[in-house]
């Protein structure tokens, strides 16, 4: 297990507090947690691509960061309109 795989594993631990916020706090706080979870997921994908020495996997990280951005806008717009 190299350094990047270990980093990916450690980053996954960050989902625990974010999931707690999504479950326990109000909706907009959950959107904030979801936004940061998207960033953490992108970093995990970067670390796994580098850890496995598969540059092609970085395309998944590109898509993940773009989708995170779009979903943040959609949720903010939706909750701002309620």
């Amino acid at each position: 297990m190299n350094a990047f795989e270990t980093a990916a594993l450690a980053l996954i631990a960050g989902f625990v507090p974010l999931g707690w916020v999504c479950l326990r706090e109000r909706e907009l706080d959950g959107v904030v947690a979801l936004e940061l979870a998207g960033v953490v997921t992108t970093l995990v994908l970067i670390c796994l691509a580098e850890g496995y020495h598969r540059g092609i996997y970085l395309g998944v990280a590109v898509v993940c960061s773009a989708v995170t951005w779009i979903s943040g806008f959609v949720f903010a717009r939706f909750f701002g309109r309620l």
Partner: protein
Amino acid sequence: MENILVDVLLAAGVAAELVCCLGVAVMRDVYDRLHYASAGTSVGPFLVLAALLVREGLASQGLEAIAVVALLFLANPLVVHAIARAARRIDAGETASSGPQGGEV
């Protein structure tokens, strides 16, 4: 020497990201949480990118990682602003029809 630098940068990046995750959970207000979420899109990703660039250099893998981190860094402040705006509307009790711009007729 290069491996030590990669390890240090990765550890710093992961630690920064985990602190931001904990900060989002600990804070009580949505604006305070946004503060930590913003830091999570800039500090941690740049440190992880630096670790990757030290190992790979500016090969295709490095360039693609630069694109990902640049997208995170440039795009996420817009989302943070949108969420803060939505929070302000909710806190002020504004709806689409009663907003400051007048809304629907």
